[in-house]
Amino acid sequence: MNRTSLAASIFLVAVFCMAALSAQNAFADGAVSGMVTDSEVLIPISGVEVLVEGTEISVITDDEGRFTLPEMPDGKYKIVFQSSQHARTVKEVEISGENVELDMELTAADGAVVLKEVSVSAKREVVATAKQSLKREELMTAPGAGADAIRVVQSLPGVANLGIQSYGAGGLVIRGTGAEDSGYYLDGFYLPQLFHFGGLQTVVNSEWIESLDYYAGGYSVMYGEALGGIVEINTRMPEDEKFSGVVDLTNYSSFALVEGPFGKDSNWSGGAAVRRSFIDFVLPEVLPEDQLAFTVVPRFYDYQAIVAYKPNTHHTFKLFAFGSDDRMGIVSDETDEESPTADVSFDMELWFHRPILSWTWTPNPRINNRLGISPRLQKLYFKVYGDKYIEFTIKDIEMREDFTVDLADWNTLSAGIVLDAYEFDIEADVVQPPKEGDPSGADLFNDVGLVFKESIFTEIAIAYIEDTFELGPFSLTPGLRASTAFYQYEDGSVEGDMSAVDPRFFARWRITDSATLKGSAGIYHQYPQGDEMVEPFGTPNIEPEVANAYGGGIEYDFGEGYTMDAQGYYKQLIDLVSGTESGADEPYDNEGVGHVYGAELLVRKELTDRLYGWLSYTYSVSERRDRPGGDWRYFDQDQRHNFILLASYRIGDTWRVGGKFSYGTGLPFTEIDTAIYNADTDSYIPIYSDEVNEERQEDIHQLDVRVDKAWQFTDWELLTYLDVQNVYWQKQPIGYMYNYDYTEKEAVSFPSFYPTLGISARW
């Protein structure tokens, strides 16, 4: 793609906006009818009484929030909307021989207990209708998640249970693909980093999350560039009625959050939050002196700031700026004389900043248009042993336009465009990073580092369109996503382009009121990782990886909040980026292939009065073949069985207790056959078995429990919780440690439980 085509893409965005305007006019006519939605979350409200003042005319909105008043003589009328949860609202309309379309947004009633839902939707296969929502109370109180909404996703089907190793995964291992193969988004934009330090805590404070969508696979054409799953966080609007805040303290971090309107009856509102870990304060006080020299101590910050302007019910402008800063280093800078190396120094920093400016326009409940733009600045710096280092700097600006319109009661069209200009700078003196499936890894002590500095500029344009047809019991959704990318090195020595076209199709068949069959088929491309394209680490002209995915299943509603979702899937992986034979000119090519298949079951009790929970079982087989004609091997994080049972029960008005038991098959590893002594360095070089990933670590299982207690006061509340992971101290396998010549090995495991004690004041 060149700059001319970029300009053309921008033009298309404008066309979309104009199309939205036209669609608004098309729906301007209608009877004295309309739809009632919640002004904050824009979801339809059922059960609202709609009456005509001074008459006995009264109707109730249906499940879709719709109402229709009987015909009335010409004149002016006051239409009243009222419900127990929303402020009574009166709207005057004039009827003059024509029907009137009246859509209303209601605000929450003063003093009403409004549950701001945060939802995790296991929206597999079909985006629009396979949604399963977890209420905010579930997300914030799920045992084993430490009040971290994204950690709750780890308990859903399709996500591998890595035990303690999940803290280093850097993301979620979904349906047999690596954490880097899944997409993580916030308000539609790429989330540069999901967790602090690869897994400690989500970088976005859960307090800002309005909904959290999790797609294990078979996801809509709205999303792409990921072979695995998708996690999208949608942030909420700041409080616009009154000033409020949260002060939260746990045993490893603390945050403060404030929000509120910018003045009385203002259309402006905003808020901010900042969080900091304080492990670096505590550890030096509690660790013995002799351990300090080798102790790396992490500390992290994250922040979020939001400003919203809502001039009327149809327009919302929002700026959500967020960032994260992780640092780690040696507590003591004294070099230990007993160290095998002369320098044990270690330094790491990882930070990003990303503001997102968005405009959401909903002229009526049938149209939704969102335009957003977001720059990003991100850096990773990692230095070890004095001189080995790698540094990434990413500068990026992205714009996206998403448009959805209900063309008819049975037809919903969605389309969008994404434009992304991206600079990736890398500077390194480090050995080649190992690829998935390469057991040998890098030897920072002995291997010769690659010294280089390079920049890649990339421009990406993406367009998608998707149309859902509701035909009786059938729902059919064809979609198409097309993307193209142009890239070049800073010095112009390398340039090229890539493109991908991803057709996808989703179908649902509502067999009975309780049972729905569903299926999907689609192609999913994923562009190479930045470092895979930079010489000498990578190969400049490698192609995107591809997944051809098929899935099907059944959903069943047992009633009273009990539901079941069973699925099977097959995913063929082709053109995988793979290490070439030793001595080849280029380190990577696209000769790798793979396949993943499995089944997932989710039986759930949704939160009703007191109880919620679910049983999740995942069966998965994920295999790879790195070279043509080579042997098949298991994926590094292939997990055959993954079972999770989670339940939480509220006792009285202020107590809640919960537990989660998880069991997962041990992860594969490759045995070391022998080792060769390197007489130059006085070290041993392990020789791995040809049977890659044929051995398994010990199975993973643990029990987590959680207790919550709340105190209600006049103007504020105090919440406390104790969330203890691994209460019976089951050792969590991390891997194996070998003696100096690899003739002896012992499993390394994390021996202790992980308690989180939290106290939170809210007003």
Binding site: E225, Y422, P433, T674, I676, Y677, D680, D682
Partner: protein, 290 residues
């Protein structure tokens, strides 16, 4: 939605970090330190000279020990080849075809691997295209069971202008209770019933200053992970004869003409000594004569 060119390395780095955290936090297994001899093993490989030019003769030798700490004197299989000289990863992937080159079976100490480096086209044919700035060959050493040999490798720098030399091991000095001792007529240092001795390596380094000293015994009591030229050795309580070895290395790397690589072809020499622990100090031969 687009991730652009996502940074999988970000995730990889996070994983490395997490592993480091957990490695530190976890209970790590207690293995014997590398300086304790428990099995048949190779302690050092040396080429003399350290760097060689085409047409020059090179003598290749090795230091290996038995599981009881005595010197291994059995047969040794030697290979001099061209492949896998630069990185550990490449070495681990070397196939049998790759390591064809020159072989030698050493049956006794008097039959070392002596080889005259070929010149011109013969070198190219035998190994690889010769680079006058530096061509790195690999020495392979194997001992023990032929089906499952104990193996070692070492780099050998071949170039026109050689500059680095091996260290020269002069000997080991033993300090008992603050006084030097001398060996007896069998070359054994009597240390009596003292609890510990201080052993110092006397080594000359003609070139380079990246010096390390690795110590080995079959007993417990050596300070772990030290690379110092002097070491304290806590002695066994049982009377007997014990061996100690010190391998001295000089690790200055070799810069190629184009500056791309910094090859560590270490200079090596070693020293060995025997001590006798006895119930009294009577047999100790003090260097100061008293």
């Amino acid at each position: 939605m687009t991730a652009g060119l996502r940074t999988g390395a970000t995730i990889a780095a996070a994983a490395i970090i997490a592993v480091m955290i957990f490695s530190i936090s976890c209970d790590t297994p207690e293995f014997d330190p590398p300086n304790r001899i428990k099995s048949l093993r190779i302690l050092a490989v040396k080429s003399e000279p350290r760097e060689v030019s085409p047409g020059e003769e090179v003598i290749i030798s090795g230091l290996a020990v038995n599981e009881d700490g005595t010197i291994y004197t059995g047969p040794i299989a030697w290979v001099l080849g061209s492949t896998g000289a630069l990185t550990g990863a490449e070495r681990s992937e070397a196939s049998e075809e790759d390591v064809e080159g020159v072989m030698h079976i050493q049956m006794t100490e008097d039959d070392p691997f002596v080889y005259t480096m070929p010149t011109g086209g013969e070198f190219d044919e035998k190994f690889e295209e010769y680079n006058a700035d530096g061509t790195v060959l690999t020495i392979g050493m194997g001992i023990g069971d032929l089906d499952n040999p104990i193996m070692s490798i070492k780099s050998l720098m071949v170039r026109d202008n050689t500059s680095f030399e091996n260290p020269v091991f002069v000997g080991l000095d033993f300090l008992v209770e603050g006084r030097y001792v001398l060996p007896d007529e069998d070359g054994v240092f009597n240390v009596g019933n003292t609890e510990a001795v201080k052993v110092t390596a006397n080594v000359d380094f003609p070139t380079g200053d990246e010096k390390t000293f690795h110590w080995f015994t079959a007993t417990k009591g050596l300070k772990e992970f030290t690379v110092d030229k002097a070491i304290e050795w806590k002695l066994p309580k049982e009377s007997g004869i014990y061996d100690i070895y010190c391998v001295a290395r000089e690790n200055t790397g070799t810069q190629f003409g184009d500056g791309d690589y910094n090859v560590k072809s270490a200079g090596v020499d070693w020293g060995a000594a025997r001590i006798r622990v006895s119930e009294t100090m009577d047999d100790v031969i003090w260097a100061d004569g008293n």
